[in-house]
Symmetry: C2
Subunit: 636 residues, 2 copies
């Protein structure tokens, strides 16, 4: 039995598969006051109660009561609404690690008893089918029975790991056993059109040591692309949409529905982690290359086809019409985390960081109670966060990711600690060789580039620091004030290996200039535009700060750029530079087209200050227009 975890875990055992490192457990890392501690606390204080309330108000909990015979009425809502209960259970469970809360734990136990009462004797549990046509279960694979089961399993494992309680885990195991039995009877029965159960089954294998769960996951990964699936109707929702065009091992490009595709790669990576013989690593690497080279928004967002919530063609990355679902950002973090464990290459950690700070964090409001489903890179002000959704997958997905965030900071090999994310924290880790390593990190990252790491253990081991690609050639590291001589990075990690004494201090300094990025020339929408970044933070312009519509602004690339802390905007550092705004109705004479040599002078307003704010805080003040990609010019 091996154990490396997608959702961070509290058990550390060497896997039999291809993993290079194992993740630290959520409980091993305590975030201290800083960028993330603040936001993770808001999830515990605001988001988790909000989701629980909305699950009740929307009838999602009542569906279980009806099936359990505790309430009369009809099942309501979408066929996968059970998953919203399970994802809430998972985020609540993770949050208990660092925010103990007896009331919340009692509520988890109460919901657990409701599930127990609703579960059938054979282990099946799904209110959509139990509430109406139980005889049709396992016949319509578009209806997400396994997807919901997967989320139940993940929630149960989280609660077992964090509080040691088995009641919910036993419910999940009964359902998992039922699934294994159903598919033992008829191997070609089908496979859920929405991947998810694969990674849950691998995790259940890790938790229980029962190999059959891993085998069942391997079967589901390989079952796709062999028979037509029972798919939803509509010309856009074809076999490709469902990752069923070809077998997984034949895939060369990310295709179809983004979250489904990414959950499938998560499951395949989990299989790969546990069983090297499956040989899936090369497939996953090719898919990752395609994703990052053709489909990735500068925010880390994924998904350019609104009509399918899907991957579009390479280089087709519209800004205003970006879909970039919050769940897709979460799924990307989950997959990149698994890839990072397989191969300690900073490219995966860089993308986790980019997505965390930008494409995912934008999905929740500063107050923790309103959510984006889509995260476009430009808006006329009409796109605003919502209290809730009929299809409410995103709120609990962002909540479970942030509630378990401490688990994404470190992983360990036999003899080294890998530091992937930087923020104030204290960690007590265990290496593969059994050595204990304690350390403390102090920093004002991402607003400042200096990171101080104090080692609180004694012994010989490696400390491997991720040097983000954007900091290449612009960083310095020292131990106890003496520069680290070698700057040879191993796949982006600086390895410092020595005999450590408690109190030794590593200082890492990452330069944080404002970067002006341009997009590949084949990204049509971004021609003549640039995006501002500083460290891992992507910036955007909002009309409210600039006295002009976002789309009308032109940045002068020759003008100086300054950073200024702006505590009023959720503690962010804003960027200020100069430029001008198009005066649309002044000198174009209300025409749309003119000779290209006519010059822009007449169309522009006075030179003005242009203020950019972090993308993740957009749409938290008055509704107004926003753009990540800003026109630019230079005449100096």
């Amino acid at each position: 039995m091996g154990t490396t975890s997608g959702t961070p875990n509290d058990v550390v055992v060497r896997p039999q598969g291809e993993a290079e490192t194992l993740p630290a457990a959520v409980s091993q890392v305590q975030l201290n006051d800083g960028f993330w501690a603040d936001r993770v606390a808001r999830i515990a204080k605001k988001t988790i109660p909000k989701i629980d309330r909305m699950n009740e108000e929307s009838g999602r909990c009542d569906n279980f009561r009806i099936v359990a015979g505790k309430k009369t009425g009809k099942i309501s809502g979408l066929y996968f609404n059970d998953s919203d209960i399970y994802k809430w259970l998972e985020c609540a469970a993770w949050s208990l690690v660092h925010f103990p809360n007896a009331d919340l734990e009692a509520r988890i136990d109460e919901v657990t008893e409701l599930l127990a009462a609703a579960q059938l004797d054979d282990g099946y549990l799904n209110t959509f089918y139990q509430g109406q046509n139980i005889e049709e279960r396992w016949t319509r694979f578009r209806h997400h029975e396994m997807y919901c089961a997967g989320h139940l399993i993940q929630a149960a494992i989280a609660y077992h790991r964090t509080r040691g309680k088995r009641r919910l885990l036993d419910i999940a195991i009964r359902f998992a056993d039922h699934i294994c039995e159903v598919f033992a009877e008829d191997r070609n029965r089908g496979v859920d059109t929405h991947p998810e159960v694969e990674m849950a089954l691998v995790e259940l294998y890790r938790e229980t040591g029962e190999r059959r769960y891993l085998d069942q996951a391997i079967y589901f990964v390989d079952a796709r692309g062999r028979h037509d699936l029972d798919i939803i109707e509509g010309p856009a929702f074809d076999q490709e949409y469902h990752q069923n065009r070809v077998p997984f091992r034949k895939l060369e490009r990310m295709e179809g529905h983004v979250v489904r595709m990414l959950y499938l790669t998560c499951g395949a990576a989990d299989v790969c982690t546990e069983d090297a013989d499956q040989g899936l690593a090369a497939v996953l690497q090719a898919l990752w290359d395609n994703m990052s080279h053709g489909h990735l928004y500068v925010t880390g967002g994924l998904g350019s086809r609104r009509e399918t919530e899907g991957f579009g063609r390479d280089y087709v990355l519209p800004n205003r019409d970006a879909y970039a679902e919050t769940c897709a950002a979460v799924a990307s973090i989950m997959w990149n985390w698994r890839m990072l464990l397989l191969e300690t290459d900073r490219k995966y950690a860089d993308l986790i960081e980019l997505t965390l700070y930008n494409g995912m964090l934008s999905g929740v409001s500063v107050d923790g109670e309103r959510f984006f489903y889509e995260n476009p890179l430009a808006s006329d002000g009409g796109h605003q966060r919502q209290d809730w959704f009929e299809c409410a997958c995103c709120p609990s997905n962002i909540a479970r990711t942030l509630a378990s965030l401490p688990g994404y900071f470190y992983s360990t090999s036999t003899d080294a600690v890998f530091v992937h994310l930087y923020d104030n924290n204290e960690a007590a880790l265990v290496l593969g060789n059994g050595a204990n390593v304690e350390l403390q990190v102090e920093t004002n990252y991402p607003w400042a580039g200096r990171i101080d790491i104090t080692i609180a253990s004694t012994g010989t081991f490696g400390v491997c620091l991720r040097i983000p690609e954007w900091a290449d050639n612009a960083w310095q590291a020292a131990v106890n004030g003496t520069d680290v001589a070698s700057h040879d990075l191993q796949r982006g990690y600086l390895r410092i290996e020595r005999s450590w004494a408690s109190g030794d201090r590593i200082t890492l300094d990452l330069a944080l200039p404002v970067r002006k990025l341009r997009a590949h020339p084949l990204v049509q929408e971004n021609a003549g535009r640039l995006a501002l970044m500083c460290g891992p933070i992507v910036y955007c312009v909002e009309a409210i700060d600039n006295d002009a519509e976002a789309e009308s602004l032109y940045v002068d690339t020759a003008a100086p750029v300054v950073k200024r802390p702006q505590p009023g905007i959720d503690g962010a550092v804003v960027i200020e530079t100069s430029g001008w705004a198009v005066q649309p109705h002044v000198s174009w004479d209300d025409t749309l087209y003119q000779d290209h040599t006519a010059g822009t002078t007449g169309t522009r307003g006075e030179e003005q200050r242009i203020t950019a704010i972090p993308y993740y805080v957009w749409a938290n003040r008055e509704p107004c227009s926003m753009s990540v990609w800003v026109h630019h010019y230079s005449e100096r």
Copy 2:
């Protein structure tokens, strides 16, 4: 009774309304060999037989046979399919003017008898309701009963005018009388969700002199925006989509479904033409300004919202996702023609010409048998013309426009001829004062700018020549070799008034340099790009001519540009210049984003010839990528 015609007509009587000029009849203008004669002939030879065949094969004709009791079976197809029969009748009728064809005329008469047999005693005629739920007629105004009636009326008038036959006209009049009776009983009954009947009723007023048809049209124009309509389902299909948000006179912007909006403005302009008291001109002018300043593609196409076939927000003009329905181009020509008759301003005629040569003509293949429904301004090669459509509004709409094209060349005031379009033709016109004016035009327009007009009549009258806006300051005119002294244009028309002798010759020379246009800075998609035009022709690049994907091409704005006749491409003149193509996978190292100062040198291929072809001939060879807006640069 007045008469100015949307569909060009053969009766010339002064209107009581606001029209400044009246149109020449189709029969008064004979196109000679040249750009348009060729293409109009293809409509007669290929397109009209093709549509007739498809109407039969698709069951559209059978629907009438079933209702008439001549065939058993069920009504099939969309609820507005009757209109495809009527629009075919109309284009067939117009084509008979210059392409007499006894077989075609017999076929029109045969279809006419079918309609007569299907029509109910009270005048009602609609196979969708007659075939299933006749008792529900006039209750569901989303079902286009009046829209179909309007096309029947227009077809009947066309055939009456061209061949003098009353049989089809009587069928139409009986239906029109029925409509007037139904709405006399209950004025607030409703109004068709798809405008069309308004302009047909005005035309029927012109044809018959019966004022009640005009009054009914006025009623329908003003009935919108007063009660919720019975609209089609779906969140995007709201009252705005149906031009029912506010009364027509309160509209300040083009909104909703493009063809519906434009057909409504056509009807309102027709009302305005016939009855000055209606005071609709100011409303129409404001709407026209909004359309041309915020919504117009450089091809003349209209409609940027695919999901609603609708107008988008101002300046939102995506290229690859442009909808720019062929019917919208036709509708724009129809509306601009009516505006031009109301006010002889070249801006309307310029837009007619632009749309004819580009956004509309692209809707039919060179062989006249395949059609575009949507006319995007960029394509990866996947968008190709189709044989037919389930919703087949576009083929017959382009056919009826081109079959009646001679009627768009001239209009006349009391004492002058206005020349709006230039091509080889002979015209025999009648002025408002009764004087006959004959003239002949010889030119190689649009490939050359010289236009020779020989007057074949004697007398004193004005000849008013449209000077396209793109030729401003770059044209010369002479009479019998002597320069015309005054260059004062009257709303874009050069008026030459003198005592003419038969044989007098006007020579107009319009300079035809290749123009490089840029789009308004608020059109996001066109930043850093230019469009090539020459005269009224919009050019595009296709991969097949350039050994590179269209989107990867960069034009060097400092390079010389040459024009070269290319008979193989439907007789077109192509444009050649220099530039380079992005090499996507070479020097960007498969990344999507890089520092904006990194320079483009590494990404480009060798300098190469770039060939652009007229937009209207794109997608007539092998499928390949295409783009109207091309990236540009200059380093010299």
